[in-house]
Amino acid sequence: MKPSPFEYVRPETLDEALAVLARDPDESKVLAGGQSLIPMMNFRLARPERLVDINSIPDLAGTTTRDGRLHVGARTRHLTLQNTDLPGPLGHLLRRAAVNVGHLPIRTRGTFGGSIAHCDAASEWCLVATLLDAEMTVRSAARGERTIAAADFFQSIFTTAMESDEILTSISLPSLDDGYVTGISEFARRAGDFAIVAATAAVQVKDGVVTDARVSLGGVSEVPFRSTAAESAMLGQQWSPELVATAAEEAAAEVDPPSDTHGDADYRRDLVRALVPRALATTSPANR
């Protein structure tokens, strides 16, 4: 349970990091919080020849609000988001999601961008990014900066649209207005475990009618899953408990989940049916 040997580089600037990464991108890995990468290296499931530690680069951490969007620096720690005083439905969702990320000693090190780049289909941040159509800003030495929409970013298990010479620098999320309500519900075997299934939701209700509905599901496919069936079932409808139940049924019917030792496809479908209403319950106008 000791990592293979590697070269360790700790650049002081982003440009320097990109230059180092560009030397041999396929054999290099970016080290952010290390809470997923280091265990994989300890098991020797990952054997990078070079680690580019981005923890000394200024400006990669922290959040700013600009142009109606929240920009989250890729190296922002989970704990920072758990403690964010950002008001409104987005702040609520970030805090609620963060407390579900592992345990305290994981949240002190692990990062928002690290989770997004790792692309685990059950990760809270990947779900939030999918739910809110986040935009990922990535950068390479050769091609400069580009922005990738969440729908294009998460491609398959542990695989994103990023090239190996790119570093994720920030993620932007829409600052939801107060007409929205947000929620997350997940099912894990023990406190702090990866969710078997997780659901996040953001719903805008005006005069009792659903004007925007977003539902994303984790643990049901290779990447976080936007349930368009649940969303379209709710859009334009009168908000009611029955509507929530209908959305849950639509979501459960839409997914085609995998089976493993924690549960088969039928069980995961049952969890979708159970969790979508719980995520939406925290979004219900009554709970605002």
């Binding site: 000791k2 293979s4 098991f43 075997r189 023990r190 406190a191 702090g192 030792t261 069980y267 049952d270």
Partner: protein, 812 residues
């Protein structure tokens, strides 16, 4: 709510903070990894392990510069062999490193030595192992099917791959069974579980060129037996090997079995004349450090109309894996199951078959509770199902069948000493307030919430010495050859008072977290009128302690405690004789109190024990009794065993949509006899229940159909955290039994034994509206949800038995 109400006047009975703890809480403990970390020049070992469940080892190749030893290098090392002397027992050898065959994923094939752990793992990556895969047997059903591949090429007296096949049938069974009002039949089963001590296995072998001796520091429960086993394997006189178990990071049974790796490590250290450490990884620990509990019991209870259990039949199957553990053998689970299935219940007629069946999986070894969690699950589910079928209250049916007269001889020949089965059930039921629960349950159900309550009664055999282990084998007589069987049991201690009047107690038991040094000090000090800080307990070092069997099977407090009390009484008697001479009066008139010997009833200050001690050594020519010029006593105790007993009650809430069970309340009425240290007793109960909760709801070692273990990390194998544990309330009853001279009964395993059944019964109670019950553990959320969804009981889903292929026969 536990513990005595007033502070006792003796050391025994106090919740004394442990003498072990101040160093540990400062981080000054010494575990094996710490011995290795402090030995700057030591080499490190890793093991090449089989990736296949069954195969023929063709070749092992390593590049130049890699230090690796294989079975070929160890050709003069004897295999490990543990046997029982009984006709149904099949013995096999366990090679220290795999020779021509591999039999489970994780089996050690070669030992690699390098300068550091990292470099040993680098070297591991460079070694190529060629294995011709052979068909693997992954389930007991497959193992005993005609034409199944054989895990070992030996003669099986009965079915293939059957290594233990115990049977018992009482004379009146058939009539009683046939005449019963109703026969209730159930099948219960448990997944494989790992003891999973937080410190995985670890060893550090040092070689001393000057003396030619080896010192093995290893994380062990049986240092002396380990020394015997390694010495036998390596052909060494035992004196050439010192075995030390320093601080041990949990054992739970898993560290009483001789590790092949430890033998290989000592061999390599002697071969290279270097110090070498092996610190097992968590992944290796799951793969190769012993499993347990993979059992299926078919049980039929023949009941009278009023709920009396007239006859009990059991067909008990234990998957014991690929090799036979040393010293207690792969008979440990099936034979325990057979002997103790009836538990605390009066079972006059009994018919049982109990089998150990081998498979291409990690070998089983003892783990806290050994079969009894399953026995209790079987009996307690049986009574709940019978109560429902017969329309009898679940408490009443238990009261009607629990033993009331002592000593009680069970149908398997066990003698149950004085206990309080009826009283603990009554006490737990009172604490639970069943009437209140039923009204809360009904109110919750009206809101769509599912609450349940479950009861479990059990007897925990503890402190059993040589007679109990001897009963596992046919009697044999000693001849000129070595006896065929290792029969554990006694404990021996040496208590010495030095010239300053302080005590050293050397014990053969080997504590690993139980606080035994504290509790033995409490027992000894009461006999001698000294304070516990006046005694040093030395354990777990073969150079410093008398031969003993170690700590396992809830035995140390009873047996080592009894031996310590005997030694202390002998020493006290000598001090009284010496004091009587000086103070006048008879020895019986002397009290040993507060470090002094005084004439009872006298207001004279008496004589300090330290003065008596000094004079024994320094003025021995004046000793009035002309006795030994030393203060030393040997205590030996070898009891036949005593049964602790308890009743557990669990309250749960089940989420019907996700299948999650939350334990909302856990109650224990415990009778462990006299409590030497109530805090330690409660700690054992709490910790035992946590492992029972794990067995009931969380932990499961899962093999795929090719025999590959898929749960090799703590992300897949799920010990509960504090968030999953209920608060536990304990009440104590105290039955003092003559079967234990200290009055203490063992309490190490009870929590683990009783909790799974209470939880399974509670979930089944909660699921009653769905008409499904729990018959397999762990009752994981997905299984509970599947039971609710399908409306069928939660049972084990057996692996399909592959169709036999004729050519496999030819491969034998």
């Amino acid at each position: 709510m536990s513990g005595p109400l007033s502070e006792p006047e003796t050391w025994t009975g106090r919740a004394l903070p442990r003498l072990e703890d101040p160093a540990i809480v400062r981080g000054w403990g010494t575990y094996v990894g710490d011995v290795a970390a402090r030995d700057r020049g030591c080499l490190h070992a890793r093991f090449v392990r089989s990736p296949h469940a069954s195969g023929r080892l063709i070749s092992i190749t390593a590049p130049a510069g890699v230090t690796v030893f294989t079975a070929k290098d160890l050709h003069d090392v004897q295999p490990i062999r543990a046997v029982l002397h009984r006709p149904d027992f099949v013995a096999v050898d366990t090679p220290v490193l795999a020779t021509d065959r591999v039999r489970f994923v994780g089996e050690p094939i070669a030992i690699v030595i390098a300068a550091s752990e990292s470099e040993a793992e680098d070297a591991l990556d460079l070694i190529e192992v060629e294995i011709e895969q052979l068909p693997a047997v992954v389930s007991t059903a497959h193992a005993i099917a005609p034409g199944a591949p054989l895990v070992h090429d030996v003669e099986f007296p009965g079915d293939p791959n059957t290594v233990v096949d115990g049977r018992m049938h009482t004379d009146g069974f058939d009539d009683a069974f046939a005449g019963a009002h109703r026969v209730v039949s159930i099948q219960v089963s448990s997944a494989r579980q790992s003891a999973m001590p937080l410190e995985a296995r670890a060893a550090h072998a040092a070689y001393d060129r000057a003396s030619g001796r080896s010192t093995l520091h290893a994380t062990l429960q049986m240092p002396h037996v380990t020394r015997t086993g390694i010495a036998d394997s390596l052909g060494l006189p035992e004196d050439d090997l010192r075995v030390v178990a320093p601080d041990v990071g949990g054992g739970f049974g898993a560290k009483m079995t001789l590790a092949r790796e430890d033998v290989a490590l000592v061999w390599a250290s002697r071969r290279m004349r270097r110090n070498i450490a092996w610190i097992e990884t968590r992944e290796e620990n799951f793969l190769a450090a012993w499993h347990s509990r993979e059992q299926v019991y078919d049980v039929d209870g023949a009941f009278s109309a009023d709920g009396e259990l007239l006859a009990l039949r059991g067909d008990l199957v234990c998957d014991v894996g690929a090799y036979c553990c040393y010293p207690v053998t792969w008979g440990v689970e099936p034979l325990m199951a057979m002997a103790e299935l009836p538990g605390p219940y009066r079972v006059r007629e009994y018919s049982v078959r109990s089998r150990g069946i081998i498979t291409n999986k990690c070998p089983i070894a003892p783990y806290r509770g050994v079969s009894r969690p399953m026995q209790v699950l079987a009996m307690e589910r049986l009574f709940d199902v019978a109560a429902d079928e017969l329309g009898i209250d679940k408490v009443k049916i238990r009261h009607a069948n629990l033993i009331t007269e002592f000593p009680h001889r069970s149908p398997s020949g066990l003698v149950l000493d004085a206990a309080s089965h009826q009283e603990t059930l009554a006490a737990a039921v009172e604490l639970a307030d069943l009437e209140d629960f039923r009204s809360r349950q009904a109110a919750a159900l009206a809101q769509g919430r599912y609450l349940g309550i479950g009861i479990s009664c059990f007897a925990e055999r503890t402190g059993y010495g040589t007679p109990a282990f001897a009963a596992r084998s046919r009697p044999f007589t000693l001849g000129t050859e070595q006896a065929p069987v290792i029969t554990p049991g006694f404990e021996r201690v040496i208590l010495t008072m030095d010239p300053s009047g302080t005590l050293t107690l050397r014990i053969g038991a080997a504590p690993h977290g139980q606080g035994l040094k504290t509790t033995l000090a409490q027992v000894v000090c009461d006999e001698l009128g000294l304070r516990p800080d006046a005694i040093r307990v030395i354990a777990s070092d073969t150079d410093q302690t008398p031969y003993g069997w170690g700590s396992f099977a809830s035995r140390a407090m009873v047996i080592a405690g009894g031996a310590s009390m005997l030694a202390a009484q002998e020493l006290a008697e000598r001090l009284r004789v010496l004091a009587a001479e000086r103070l006048g009066g008879l020895p019986v008139d002397i009290d040993l109190v507060d470090g002094h010997a005084r004439v009872r009833g006298s207001d004279q200050p008496g004589v300090a024990i330290a003065v008596l001690a000094r004079d024994v050594y320094h003025s021995s020519h004046l000793l009035p009794d002309k006795g030994d010029p030393a203060l030393e006593a040997v205590g030996v105790y070898d009891p036949s065993g005593t049964f602790a007993n308890a009743c557990h009650i669990a309250e749960v809430e089940v989420d019907p949509l996700t299948g999650r069970t939350v334990i909302t309340r856990f109650l224990v009425a415990e009778d462990a006899g006299r409590l030497i240290n109530p805090a330690i007793v409660d700690g054992q109960i709490h910790g035992g229940i946590a492992q029972g909760v794990a067995n009931a709801l969380f932990e499961e070692l899962i093999y795929d159909d090719r025999g590959v273990l898929v749960t090799t990390s703590l992300m897949d194998y799920l010990p509960p955290t504090v968030a999953e544990m209920p608060h536990i309330d304990i009440v104590h009853l105290e039955t003092i039994s003559p079967a234990s001279i200290t009055g203490a009964k063992g309490v190490g395993e009870g929590g683990t034994i009783g909790a799974p059944a209470a939880i399974a019964n509670a979930i089944s109670d909660a699921l009653k509206p769905f008409q499904v019950g729990v018959f397999h553990i762990p009752a994981t959320p997905h299984r509970v949800r599947a039971a609710i969804r399908s409306g069928t009981d939660l049972h084990v889903i057996p692996l399909a038995v592959p169709t036999p292929e004729p050519e496999k026969e030819a491969q034998r």
